[in-house]
């Protein structure tokens, strides 16, 4: 009961911190909101990357798709989208509060569901690929999406779309979007926590460990892969819709499909925190985002070099991430038991690693 009690306090503390953070530190609300989104990014990437062993460089595809779908629905429910984009925002559209909120609600829901569908479609394209081909393939799909949306005049092409303005004062707007980000991140976490306690997770891990064997054991790997990606896509799509509204103006290559920024951050945060665990991505996201926000202002011009160096160092020297490192150091804390005899045998025999080329 002691452990259970502690767990409840812990979760309650986090929830309260999340709810009250913007009230206690109102100046940082926007940054906290982005922090929750980053946590969401990391969690969704880990479904495929950590649990399933499929490293996707193109998850940002759903972020952008969700953003555009939500925007089109929001505007399209009450106005003609084609006409709005044809004038590059030269036409002003007004939204009553009712229109705005129904628009956003419908937009987010549809974005999530549509991305679910997109994951199924794109899954068919990319899931025959493995390892690095999968990574490159997903990267290619994400870049292609950005380019094609940029050429699509209906959604404004390269000129982008300006989103409807929030009806209400700036303080309200911030809290509203903060809450949306917070709730989405928490929902994602709760969903994944549940998911990782089911057989689904075991199947995913089986695919990660040895896909051929898993297939031979009777697991319909394709089905599991597609479903896993759909889950990620659902949450990513919603996060895209929220972020688009927060930013107020979206365009394909910079805001919606930023493969080189958010797309890579996703991977980096999970690697930093530790792949394949539930809390690893969360910790990685928090550390990454906090450090980034503090240091970037002061590293003018060098922040991206530092980021690239961080990726290299993390990948080369610290691949297990923080959780992995913690698990190795204090395995008992995480409920992992190490077989003493096996461990010492491994240390004594010469390593076979160099033979694998």
């Amino acid at each position: 009961m002691n452990l259970q009690y502690k767990k409840i306090i812990f979760y309650a503390a986090i929830l309260l911190a999340g709810i009250f953070a913007p009230i206690v530190f109102p100046a940082y609300t926007f940054q906290f909101a982005v922090l929750w989104l980053m946590i969401l990014f990391a969690l969704t990437w880990d479904i495929l990357g950590g649990q399933m062993g499929y490293n996707s460089l193109g998850n940002i595809l759903f972020f952008g798709a969700g953003m555009y779908i939500c925007t089109v629905v929001q505007i399209g429910m009450y106005y003609d989208v084609a006409e709005y984009t044809a004038h590059f925002g030269a036409v002003k559209i007004d939204f009553t509060p009712y229109q705005y909120f129904t628009g956003i609600a419908a937009g987010l829901v549809l974005a999530g569901i549509a991305c679910l569908g997109l994951a199924v479609v794109f899954g068919w394209i990319v899931f025959g690929l493995r390892g690095p081909y999968f990574a490159i393939g997903t990267l290619g799909v994400a870049i292609a999406a950005g380019e094609l949306v940029g050429a699509w005049d209906y959604v404004g092409g390269g000129g982008g779309i300006s989103l409807p303005n929030y009806p209400g004062g700036p303080g309200d707007r911030e809290m509203f979007f903060y809450m949306l980000c917070f709730i989405s991140a928490v929902c994602t976490f709760i969903f994944l926590k549940w998911l990782y306690s089911t057989r689904f997770q075991l199947a995913l891990n089986a695919i990660r460990d040895d896909e051929e064997k898993a297939e031979a054991m009777g697991i319909h790997t394709n089905r599991y892969k597609t479903i896993a990606w759909s889950f990620a896509a659902f949450f990513l799509g919603i996060s895209g819709g929220i972020f688009g509204n927060m930013t107020g103006f979206i365009e394909p290559l910079e805001v919606a499909f930023p493969t080189v920024t958010f797309g890579i951050f996703m991977v980096l945060m999970v690697l930093l925190g530790g792949k394949g665990t539930l809390w690893g991505p969360v910790i990685g996201a928090i550390i990454f985002h906090v450090i980034k926000e503090i240091t970037w202002i002061y590293l003018l011009g060098w922040q991206w070099v530092a980021l690239g160096a961080l990726i290299i160092i993390n990948v080369v020297y610290f691949q297990q991430g923080i959780m992995g490192w913690a698990q190795e150091k204090w395995p008992e804390l995480f409920g992992i038991t190490v077989d003493e005899a096996f461990a010492s045998a491994e240390e004594n025999s010469p390593s076979e690693k160099e033979a694998v080329v």
Binding site: N55, Y133, I136, G140, E147, G158, I264, W304, V356, V357
Partner: protein, 302 residues
């Protein structure tokens, strides 16, 4: 789109011109792609920083061609080759060596990080504007001005061909070349036979960097260079290597020429905004086709 197609029909010379443009630029793509094929085939490293090596080569050329050095770009090719070779050697020993043994995603991500570092450093040094290096060559006209070919493009084509031949020759005849081929076939066996695989890997990676540098020289005289253009060149190399397979220099050259031509034609027919999308689209397409081919044999693309 249909206007453009009909234009091609009305002016048949245009087809020839576009074809020539595509072939000439494709030869430069072939260079970078061959380097990637080498590294991939021998070391199983998927180098996402390939395009950035190319851009680096271009920027070194640019710097050398400015006062006070004022070196003609073509003459700077050997210098770039050596400089990039040394750079590749250094990179191998610091970073690449440690990722060879690991799983395949590691090499991809590590080289991606490398790409970001290179891009940003070049950006800090030179600024984000595009640069060009001038070779000051003539432009030839044929058929009364209907077909124009810049000498720079012809020279690049020839140079690319020469470099490719030199490298093939090197691979077939020299000791190191044979060592490289042996290592790519079976590294463990090669090691047993006394080949220093570490040195082979270092050499291969450095050779790749050097080839990319030369490609960069050519890009700087026929196109433009900019710190952030590297990723597109990387993707082009990947498309070419994925469709040609990596044993196969002829395949790489043909794929590269094909890619160049398809780019030109699609830019013409569909409009310039699709030129970029075509490259990425082809990548996805090639991967899909590969998948389908593999799935016929109940295999997957590994």
């Amino acid at each position: 789109m249909f206007d453009n197609l009909s234009l091609l029909g009305l002016v048949p010379m245009l087809n020839l011109q576009l074809l020539l443009d595509g072939l000439l630029i494709g030869s430069v793509f072939a260079l970078a792609a061959y380097g990637l094929a080498l590294v991939w085939g021998v070391m199983n490293i998927k180098n996402l920083a390939q395009g950035d090596f190319v851009i680096m080569g271009g920027y070194i050329t640019y710097t050398l061609s400015q006062p006070p050095i004022n070196l003609h770009p073509i003459l700077s090719i050997p210098i770039i080759f050596v400089l990039m070779f040394v750079f590749g050697w250094g990179l191998y020993h610091t970073i690449i060596k440690r990722v060879i043994e690991r799983d395949l995603f590691t090499s991809l991500l590590a080289t991606f990080g490398l790409a970001i570092v290179i891009q940003q450093l070049i950006n800090l040094a030179y600024g984000p504007d595009v640069q060009t290096a001038e070779a000051g060559m003539e432009i030839r006209e044929f058929f009364g001005g209907e077909i124009t070919i810049a000498d720079t493009k012809l020279v690049s084509f020839l140079l690319a061909l020469v470099v490719a031949l030199l490298i093939t020759f090197f691979m077939k005849k020299s000791r190191m070349g044979r060592a490289i081929r042996a290592t790519s076939q079976n590294a463990r066996a090669a090691r047993i036979m006394g080949v220093d695989t570490d040195k082979v890997y270092a050499f291969t990676f450095s050779l790749n960097a050097a080839i990319c540098g030369v490609a960069g020289v050519l890009i700087s005289i026929i196109w433009v260079i900019q710190p952030f253009f590297g990723i597109t060149h990387s993707i082009r190399s990947f498309v070419i290597v994925t469709s040609a397979g990596f044993g196969n220099l002829i395949g790489v050259i043909l794929s590269a020429l094909g890619l160049g031509t398809v780019e030109q034609f699609s830019g013409f027919i569909f409009g310039a905004e699709f030129q970029q999308a075509t490259v990425v689209g082809l990548l996805v397409l090639v991967l899909i086709i590969r998948q389908i081919m593999q799935s016929r044999q109940r295999q997957v693309v590994q």
